[in-house]
Amino acid sequence: MAASTIDRRRARDFYIFVMPWLLGTVLLTIFPLAYAFGISLTNWDGISPGFSWVGLENYSNVLTDPDTWASLTRTGLLALVIVPVTVAASLGLAVLLNGKVVFRAGWRTLIYLPAIVPPVAAALTWKLIFDRDVGAINGIRSLFGLDAVNWLTGNQVFLVLVAVMLWGVGGGVIINLAALQDVSVEQHEAAELDGASPWQRFLAVTLPALSPILLFQVITTTIGVLQTFVPALLLSPATGPAAITAVPEANRVFMIDVYAQYFAFSRYGYASAMLWLFFVAILLLTGAFFKISGRTVFYAVDPRDAEAKP
């Protein structure tokens, strides 16, 4: 009887605690996903009372559209640049700031500060810095007698996008700093006694201990970069829905194309198909990361053992 009461109480607690997440997931994730999938099977423009079911035509059109592959390639290239640099830089800075350096708290604050600047403000600031006529970069160039460069057009705007996206690297530094506090001091001392150099200790002790955190960072940064939208849009000097196609080609990443299809071309069905395919691609990529991590990530406690425990 007593056991039954405890079980009922545990069940009630479970429902209470899980309800906010459950409602949020259903209403804000599952329902929109299902709704978008329904739209992706139509030629709806988002506003007309009439539309036709087109089956999987939007999906085949997306997959055979050269523009899709071009923007996917640009997005992949951006991820190849941003993800390794972000993860490596945030790790390197965290290791440096974990040591005994002068003004340590100040450095930590300064490096973390950009991560909490609103992305819109950061992008607009960088846009101003790189402005052709009044920007600081061209101001410095002019001191050396160099002509101004139109940074916000052509291929050079990709460099500005990279700068904006690396600006928030301090967010990863904080996570790595927290993780570094858990690295075993005893193992470091043992390695030191065995004659390991600082670099060897970093590779053999610190890195394996941080590998679960690094995996987390690789996955979240990759997903974040693949979904890049706001910085690319804000760096475009043109404004308005029609101007979305005026985003310089170098910055026409996948989500910019999705936005253009939705709000410039009013192709809600086509754009929804783009998003669904992108969702599946990210899902597969994340799965691949986990598969690879099984051989490269070190857990102090085996996750399978942890699962078996009550």
């Binding site: 209403l27 007309s48 036709s52 402005d131 052709r132 002509d147 101007a243």
Partner: protein, 448 residues
């Protein structure tokens, strides 16, 4: 016991998911439209929701002071949110719109409500006081400018006109346009070359106004040739006609010559107001309304002048390409009160205040006497405007695709044209193919 518990939880999760989805779906089903008002809106009661830019808190307070029984809830204009509200069947009661560009699109889809009965019953909008410019809000299914009226213009300008900096033009020794002798587009480009100043790679002054491969702009240019981009049934466009080719070539020539802001080198300020006042643009495209901006600049009135619309062909033609105003969705919950507000806003004391400010021409002709004329430039602008009125006209746009979509297509292709990667003919072929595909999709949704 543990097993039973696990199954129970899974069942609960599944049922909860289904229930929540059902609730969400229920919320998204279209609400039955409220009965639309007949003629007249006097005595309307109940709250209204307005999605606008110009109708702000101050306007709302002024309305509330006179109409406490019709409270207003304001929503900032947002095309995406409007789409969502229309799709959900719960649109605002009053929506901002560009009558010249959007009327056909809304009307063909049955989304906008005809306002003729309301207008004919209105004492504030008595017959004859509404400028013919408001005809841009009319669409009969095949032509803009005739048929039912779907909205009321707030105020307007003839938007292909432009302002110029008299000091800079005089200093360059170039011809200054006058009311009877507007620039041709080619002459404007030549003048712009003289006026554009570049130093160390930085542009200190652009000679020409901002340009873009915009279908509205191209239609405005073509108006002076008697041609149009659209077929008679509005279902296709043709960018390969000699007139369209001339217009597109001119826009590309401007971008290649780098004598003004373009989509390849957009104005960082987003519009010409600040750059013209800072004398960094010698010319700014904009009709009479731009005088409101001139009034904000110190001494800008001394050197700012309004000029008539340039000519691509031989015929003077000066359309309004915006006619910004408001319309009532067919599914508005409280159209009577919405029209009462619209009537008050269009022709009441608010309209008088707007006319006095010089930020546009009033659509109610009796308010024209309120336009500012204290400064010399204001008198000259008014005279230029009055002369230009004889050339005003209505452009027609297709109901099957938004101008945004067609312009986005051109914008996408434009860099290749300017760089020489494709020829003018190649540009026209691609633009025709892609724009006509968009229009065909629209025809399949709307019918016709």
């Amino acid at each position: 016991m543990a097993r039973t518990m696990e199954m129970s939880r899974r069942g609960f999760l599944g049922l909860s998911g289904a229930g929540a989805a059902a609730l969400a779906l229920g919320a998204c089903t279209a609400r039955m439209p409220a009965a639309s008002g007949g003629s007249g809106a006097s005595g309307a009661t109940g709250g209204i929701t307005i999605m606008s830019v110009e109708i702000n808190e101050d306007v709302s307070k002024a309305w509330a002071a006179e109409h406490p029984d019709v409270p207003v809830k304001l929503i900032q204009y947002d095309a995406t949110r409007l789409n969502a509200m229309l799709a959900a069947g719960t649109p605002p009661d009053l929506v901002r719109g560009l009558g010249a560009q959007e009327t056909a699109y809304w009307a063909a889809r049955g989304i906008a409500m005809p306002l003729d009965d309301y207008i004919s019953a209105s004492s504030l909008l008595a017959a004859g006081t509404l400028s013919s410019v408001n005809d841009v809000w009319k669409f009969d299914g095949s032509k803009q400018g005739s048929g039912p009226t779907y909205g009321l213009t707030k105020d307007y300008s003839l938007d292909m006109m432009h302002w110029y900096n008299l000091e800079l033009l005089d200093a360059a020794g170039v011809r200054v346009p006058d009311d009877d002798n507007p620039y041709t587009y080619d002459e404007a480009l030549d003048v712009a070359r003289e006026l554009t100043k570049v130093k160390g790679g930085k542009v200190t002054t652009y000679g020409l106004w901002s340009t873009a491969p915009d279908v509205v702009y191209i239609q405005g240019m073509l108006g002076t040739t008697g041609a149009t981009l659209l077929s008679d049934d509005l279902k296709t466009v043709d960018f390969s006609s000699p007139e369209a080719q001339r217009a597109i070539k001119w826009i590309a020539d401007v971008a290649a010559a780098k004598v003004g802001y373009t989509v390849l080198d957009p104005n960082p300020d987003g519009w010409s107001g600040p750059t013209f006042l800072a004398q960094r643009e010698a010319m700014a495209q904009g009709g009479y309304w731009f005088g409101g901006q001139v009034a904000t600049g110190e001494d800008a009135g001394d050197w700012s002048r309004l000029a008539p619309a340039p000519l691509l062909g031989d015929t003077r033609f000066s359309p309004t390409t915006s006619a910004t105003g408001h319309w009532i969705p067919a599914k508005a919950a409280n159209p009577d009160a919405a029209f009462a507000f619209l009537e008050w806003y269009t022709a009441g004391p608010q309209a008088e205040d707007r006319a006095r400010s010089g930020w546009g021409l009033p659509v109610v002709t009796s308010l024209e006497s309120e336009l500012p004329a204290a400064e010399e430039y204001q008198k000259l602008a008014l005279a230029t405007q009055q002369n230009e009125n004889q050339y005003s006209g209505v452009l027609t746009f297709s109901p099957y695709a938004t101008n945004t979509a067609l312009t986005a297509t051109l914008t996408d292709l434009f860099p290749e044209l300017v760089s020489g990667a494709i020829t003018l003919g190649g540009f026209a072929d691609k633009a025709n193919e892609q724009c006509n595909e968009l229009l065909a999709e629209g025809v399949s949704r709307v019918g016709g």
